[in-house]
Assembly symmetry: C2
């Protein structure tokens, strides 16, 4: 096991302590595993709360800050946080204009955010929820009924976050988040399995020289296993899988994402192929983000997320953001 850790049991709190030390603009409640903007609750602003199992960093804690999330709840590795964390987060960020829960579609997350919404509403906090389910690879998976939520979560958090920062009311922030979900699709490919600290060995068996198309971010099975493909072929397969389900009539936002252990030089090379396919298919690209953003521990591989973006979504995408994982304009 080649891990830079102390013991598996403390990986999540250790990382939260390290985040706190590096980012004084965040308040990190290590005991309860909640990361909050230091200036929360922000007067007259809708609060955005997300979270999920750890192991997908910078998602979600790395997207807390001005212009994006107000708070994120960190579960154990690949395990949903609990409702108590989410209600704490909601209480910490509610400024009286309500809170939006951004939930990736995994059964545990859905149940726990549902319960937390009920609890928060009992405490007088207005809560709306949006479910992210952008992964076209499979319907119904190891931890999911319906589609899994993956890369589009970044687009939802950024765009809804920008609207909230501008003072949009909860209904508007929620509607924009839904628009992003409906306009986004993803497809991922694993070149290696990931290893959870608790298990200490790969979560599934992927022989050298093979890859898995349509992988989930917890190593859930994909569509098919194939002999190793070139970057060119992987881009064709990934983009075409997305476009089979999303036929953009205008420009898209593109996220060319690494699964955690794929070097940036490979991701940029892959981006060249993704842009080639999109050009061949007649899809104009308005903005491209390349990097390891929605990850799966030390998995090697990549995913492509496209979001059809009208002018308003593009404007909100470009709006200033200041988080550990995504930052521009401030």
């Amino acid at each position: 096991m080649r891990m830079l850790i102390n013991v598996p049991e403390t990986v999540v709190p250790d990382a939260l302590r390290g985040m706190a030390a590096a980012h004084p603009e965040l308040t990190v409640d290590v005991e309860n595993r909640v990361v909050v903007r230091r200036d929360a609750p922000v007067t007259d602003k809708v609060g955005l709360v997300s979270g999920g199992g750890s192991g997908h960093e910078p998602l979600h804690g790395g997207f807390v800050g001005r212009g994006m999330l107000d708070a994120a709840c960190a579960g154990e590795i690949f395990t949903s946080p609990v409702p108590d964390q989410m209600t704490r987060a909601a209480a910490a960020v509610d400024a009286g204009r309500g809170v939006l829960f951004i939930v990736k579609n995994y059964t545990g997350d859905v149940l726990n955010f549902d319960m937390a919404a009920d609890l928060a509403q009992d405490e007088g906090i207005q809560v709306a929820k949006v479910l992210v389910d952008d992964d076209v690879a499979v319907t119904d998976s190891l931890y999911t009924a319906g589609r899994r939520g993956v890369g589009a979560t970044l687009f939802v958090e950024k765009i809804a976050g920008a609207a909230a920062e501008e003072g949009a009311p909860l209904e508007r922030v929620e509607a924009l988040a839904r628009q992003v979900v409906e306009s986004s699709r993803s497809f991922g490919v694993a070149l290696s399995a990931c290893t959870t600290p608790a298990k200490g060995s790969p979560t599934f068996d992927l022989p050298d020289g093979e890859l898995e198309l349509g992988i989930g971010i917890h190593g859930e099975p994909g569509r098919e296993r194939r002999p190793m493909m070139t970057s060119h072929e992987i881009a064709d397969a990934s983009v075409d899988a997305v476009l089979a389900d999303l036929r953009p009539s205008g420009p898209v936002l593109a996220l060319v994402n690494g699964m955690g252990a794929t070097p940036l030089i490979e991701l940029y090379g892959f981006n060249a192929e993704v842009q080639r396919v999109l050009a061949e298919r007649g899809v104009p690209v308005a903005r491209t983000l390349v990097g390891n953003y929605v990850t799966s521990l030390d998995m090697a591989g990549c995913s492509v997320t496209l979001c059809q973006a009208d002018e308003e979504l593009l404007r909100l995408w470009d709006a200033p953001v200041r988080t550990p994982g995504l930052r521009w304009g401030i």
Copy 2:
């Protein structure tokens, strides 16, 4: 071989095409492998040029932009760029106030940048050079006479870049770059070897359950091989190796860097341990940057770079920067 590539021969130009597509604020000369700020040459500004072997991304191409480098030259994987690339870069960014070459201390890079400086000066461009040699692990290594240049390169490029952006003259930019070099030390640890595309297998043999202390960014041998250590122990060893050579009398900038394949959750956990050691040793930390910045392809591992920073260096560190790899304030 689990690589997201087409063929080994095109890895570098493929990545440059992908960078060009993602970053319209850069001009990427794929044929000559030079990345330049689109607005270069910037009137009345000293030009900053760096570069080196590829495989260390985002270093250097990912640090081109406002407030940092004006241009970067990309060599083949782990191979110095050639003088022609450097003179092209110098000519592209020179606004008549001279150009600073920032050179990591590897024999090929040093020779080629020296030759390029002579050629550029023959063309009437005033050139100064600064050599980065911050790695305390070993003196004289596989590709180096003296100390290797690693993580401090990021500090040099950011701080000298900020000074140049403010209009400082070449002598001042060079002096600041030298101050950063003299004030910075690094130490790196490999948990796995890296695999170059051309070779297709690990560049050295590191059995599971062992690590190498003092590794270079091309897999050059370090100080010693040991059975796997905890994050706590690795932080002790790394920080103490740095502090044995740099005894800061004031606050430091800290770079807690991943070697490419180490997930962010592990790097943040490692940062908690680095901060603990620094606190125990009485070293105050002014700023911390955590992430995969000066990498070695798909190597798992980490490095620590400390830079003793006076108020002026801190101010220049905090100054706005807009590059693919490092961005804030704009």
